[in-house]
Every structure is written in C-alpha cells, then in structure tokens.
C-alpha cells in the first residue's frame, strides 16, 4: 500500500550539519577501537562450509583402489571440456581385475574448469569430488593442468559405503547373478 512520507523541514540544528557530523564522528570513533574483522589470509584460513565446491579431485576407496573406471561420463558432461581421460586396462593378474578399466591418464585443465560440480554429480562410481581445496596457482599454463597423480594426491581417500566391486566379485565367485 503506497503511503506518503512526511518530509518535515529541517530544524536549525540540522541545517548547520554540526550535530549530525558530531554523531558521525562518535560512531567512527567507536569503530576506531572496535575489534577488526579482517581475516589475515595466509596465516589465518577461512573455515570451509560443508558442501563447498573446490578443486575437482579423484579419490580412492579405503582399500586403496582407484575408484575411477574411466567411463568418461564426466568428460562428456563437462561443460567447458576441462576433463580429458585416456582409458586403460587393468592387468588381468591384479586383485581388482574384475573392474576391467582404469584411467591411463586423467587430466583436468583448471584454467577451463568452472567448478560446476557436474562431474561429481554424474560419476556412477563416486570417484570424483569437488573438495575443500580453494587455493590454486602455477607459473605456467602447464602447471595448472592437474594430472592423474596430482588429482589423487589432492583427493586422497574417502570412506566408501558400498564396496561395489568387492561385492560384485564375491557374487561372481558365489555364482549369484546379482550382488
């Protein structure tokens, strides 16, 4: 509902500006001694809120197996085409041979990444996560392309709820169709 604000004419004291200026000075004087709110960055770090989307990283499961199976869904979904995966086979004698594939090379170009989180969203293996890492720098364009070992170094190990491939192998060995 519209209403009209009464504009009272300024009093003499207000027209001299002085009481207002003195009031302002009082306020700024208080601020002069109030605690400072600046976060002095390199020494103090901000607390990262849950759900923060930092640098995309690759993770391993608690057994140390790399979770990525190089399905390349993230590569396809990535809007700025920052991800490039070269799929590779897992050797037949490895304990996780039933996974069949693992990335031979996995590059994320951080100059292109827009931190949208679609790769994490789309990953069927829960292998790629946007974690807490927010500070990123390099001396050349090449420095800012995260290769596979760097991605695992940043990502580390996250807890796993499913151990999907272990269950699959157990089901296969037991002759069950489904785990």
């Amino acid at each position: 509902m519209p209403y009209v604000v009464e504009r009272t004419p300024l009093t003499f004291a207000e027209r001299t500006y002085l009481p207002q200026i003195l009031g302002g000075l009082k306020t700024t004087w208080k601020h002069l001694f109030s605690p400072k709110v600046t976060l002095e960055y390199p020494e103090e770090r901000p607390t990262i809120p849950p759900g923060y989307r930092g640098v995309p990283t690759l993770v391993k499961d608690p057994n140390g197996r790399e979770k990525c199976v190089s399905c390349q869904l993230c590569e396809f979904v990535c809007p700025p085409k920052a991800i490039r995966i070269t799929p590779g086979a897992i050797p037949a004698d490895a304990p996780t041979a039933n996974v069949e594939k693992a990335p031979q090379a996995f590059d994320i170009d951080m100059l292109r990444c827009i931190y949208c989180g679609l790769c994490q969203e789309v990953c069927p293996e829960e292998a790629i996560f946007l974690q807490n890492q927010y500070s990123l720098s390099g001396y050349s364009r090449g420095d800012l392309v995260n290769h596979k070992d760097r991605l695992y170094e940043l990502g580390g190990t996250l807890p796993d709820l499913h151990f999907k491939w272990d269950k699959k192998r157990a089901a296969e060995q037991a002759g069950r169709a489904q785990h």
Partner: protein, 382 residues
C-alpha cells in the same frame, strides 16, 4: 653553536634552512599518508597495511613485528615505488605547464612552512622566544598570501592536462578555494583585533597570538578556541575547504571525476601533489594550533614558561625548545588526525551545497561574528 651559525654566509644559512624544510616535511607528509591509510583502516574495522618488512629487520624481536604491524615499512616502499616507477607524460598535454604544476604546488606548500613558528625557548632573561625559519613581521598574511597562490597548481594541472575530468576538477577547485578564502581570512580577524591592544605596535605575527594565550589570569590563559568558538569553527571548516579535504574535496572527487585535477598524472609528479596536499594540511593545522589552541602551551592556563619552571628547566634553552616543539607537534598531529577522522566520517558535499555553504552560510556568519567581536573588543579595551 649560535656563533658558528651566524658566521656562515647568508646563502649557506638559507640553503640549510631550505633543506631542513624539505627534510622534515617530506617524511611528515609520507607519514601522514601512511597514517591516513591506517586511520581509514581502523575506522573501517580493518587492520590496514601491515605486511612489508625488510628481510634484515625481521630478526629484531619485539620492535620488528610491531613496526611491521604498524605499516611503517609500507611508507618506505610506497615512496620508493613513486620514485622508481615510470613517469608518464601523456601526448596530449601542454608539457611546460604539465611539468610546472606539481613543482608550483610543492614549492608554495613548502614556502608557507618557513613563516610558521613551531616552538619556543626561554632566553636568559626568561622571555619566550619563538622558533621559526623566516621571521617575517606580517606572519599570518604571508601564510595566507602564499597559500592563496596554491590554487594555481590546481588550475595549471587541470588546464594543461587537456582532458575534461582534470579540467572540471580544477574549475571546481578554483571556485571553491576563492570562495572559502574569504571566510578563512575574515574568521581570524577577531583574533588579531584582540591581540592588537591600543598603544601596542600593530602586528600580524603568529608568535604574538601565542603570547596572548599564555598570559596570567583566567582570561589571559584561556585559549582562543574557547574565547572565540565561532571563529575557530569557521576557520576549521574553511581550512578543510582550502586544503581540499573531504567533505570538500571537489578538486579530486573520485566518484564523478576519476581523479580530478591529477587524473593524467602518475609516479613522482603525482606524489608531489600529495606531498603538497599533506604539507598544506600540516601548515593549516599548525596555524590553527597557533591561533586557537594555544600554540606550544601545554594546557589552558598553563604556559610554557610555567611548565618549564615546574620542571626546573629555565636554564636550558635547548631542552625547553625540544619540549615546546614536542607539545606543538603533538597538537598539530591531533588536528591532522581530526582531518582524517572527519574524512572517513562525513560524505562529500555536492558542489552547489559547497557554494551555498560558503557564500550564504559561512560568510554572513563570519562577518556577523567579526562585528560582534569588534564591538565587544572596542568596549573592553577602551
């Protein structure tokens, strides 16, 4: 020591005095710019610049980090940066005037320093002798005259830059400076009416004003800020306008004029403008202190001579001189702090508001004030 000084040729004496002015004002101006940044930061709940430290100073245990937090070393790095960065000379400027403008600004600003007394000592007869570089009889008039020429630095800078923002800045600044000069000059007249008692020789000396604020008795020891509050207020407001400080910084006006008159300037020439601005502030604060805040007297009703007597220092002129300079500088720095405090409190006036305030606010007020005080002084001193 005095004999050695007077034995030097006049030219050498002048040279040493001039170098002393440069050697004192440049660091104080730099420190003021640093203080400005720190005060701004503190008022805005920030710590302010606190990073730079020379590597060889890092090992000093307590003082090193303290000075680093205080931002002292930013001052040096800023000064060096101004010296060593490229000094641009745009192609479209009038080169002679463009280079002349900062030189004019800084020369005039330093010239005013010479005639301001900055301390006093007691001679053998127990009399207070003011310390100043050039003992010109006309005192305040010399300050006003030289300071009034400062407008040419702005005009030259704005006109020679041959670009519209500097031009608008200098047009506004010159109109503003001329308008507020009137109020500034008239506001000090009651002070000089009061100190030129009948029978004395007429004087405009600033040292005499301080002498009158350090006499005995209730009215004698009262600083003129209490005796003539309206004069002091108008003088202070006009001083803000004359030194182009917020809320009157029409010359710069960053939001609407990029940088005002110094838009086209950079590096050391730009730094010279700032040194000039800060030394204007310094001289303005010094004159305000001398006229209204009792100069080198420590407190109202306590003159320097009394103070020195309590400390038992009548016999040592150098110690008394040092104390007086410290007291005086303390007050001046207090006034400079007020400048900064107001800057980060009050928003900028609009141009028409500035003109209205100057011509139809301060000027009638100060003329009325002059008439009232002239009548009162005529009655009292009859």
């Amino acid at each position: 020591m005095v004999e050695f000084w007077t034995s030097l040729p006049l030219f050498v004496q002048m040279l040493i005095k001039g170098l002393a002015v440069i050697g004192v004002i440049f660091p104080i101006a730099g420190a003021s710019s640093m203080a400005e940044r720190k005060v701004a930061a503190w008022i805005q709940n920030r710590p302010g610049p606190n990073r730079a430290i020379p590597f060889w100073f890092r090992w000093v245990p307590v003082i090193g980090p303290f000075l680093q937090r205080l931002g002292i070393f930013h001052l040096m790095s800023d000064g060096l940066k101004m010296l060593f960065k490229e000094d641009p000379l745009p192609g479209h400027v009038n080169k002679v005037y463009f280079i002349l403008a900062p030189i004019v600004a800084v020369t005039l600003a330093f010239t005013t320093v010479a005639v301001v007394p900055f301390g006093a000592y007691l001679n053998r007869g127990g009399q207070v002798v003011p310390l100043m570089l050039a003992n010109v009889d006309v005192g305040i008039l010399a300050v006003f005259a030289v300071a009034s020429l400062g407008v040419y630095a702005l005009i030259l800078a704005g006109w020679s830059a041959n670009s519209k923002y500097p031009f608008l800045g200098s047009i506004r600044a010159s109109a503003q400076l001329i308008s507020y000069e009137l109020s500034l000059t008239i506001s000090v007249l009651p002070v000089f009416l009061w100190i030129n008692i009948p029978g004395g020789d007429g004087t405009l000396s600033l040292a005499r004003v301080v002498e009158f604020q350090s006499r005995a008795g209730f009215w004698g020891g009262l600083w003129f800020v209490f005796l003539m509050p309206v004069s002091a207020l108008v003088f202070l407001v006009a001083l803000f306008a004359e030194t182009n400080r917020l809320p009157f910084d029409m010359a710069e006006g960053e939001p609407d004029l990029v940088g005002g008159f110094h838009t086209e300037y950079g590096a050391f020439k730009w730094a010279l403008f700032f040194v000039a601005e800060y030394s204007h502030m310094l001289v303005g604060s010094a004159v305000f202190t001398l006229l209204f805040l009792g100069g080198w007297n420590p407190l109202p009703w306590i003159s320097l001579a009394q103070f020195a007597g309590w400390l038992g220092l009548e016999g040592s002129p150098i110690l008394v001189g040092t104390i007086s300079i410290v007291i005086f500088l303390g007050k001046v720095l207090g006034v400079i702090f007020l400048f900064m405090w107001v800057r980060w409190t009050v928003p900028r006036f609009r141009y028409d508001q500035i003109m209205k305030l100057g011509w139809s606010g301060l000027l009638p007020l100060v003329i009325g004030n002059l008439i009232v005080y002239a009548l009162a002084i005529a009655l009292i001193q009859k």
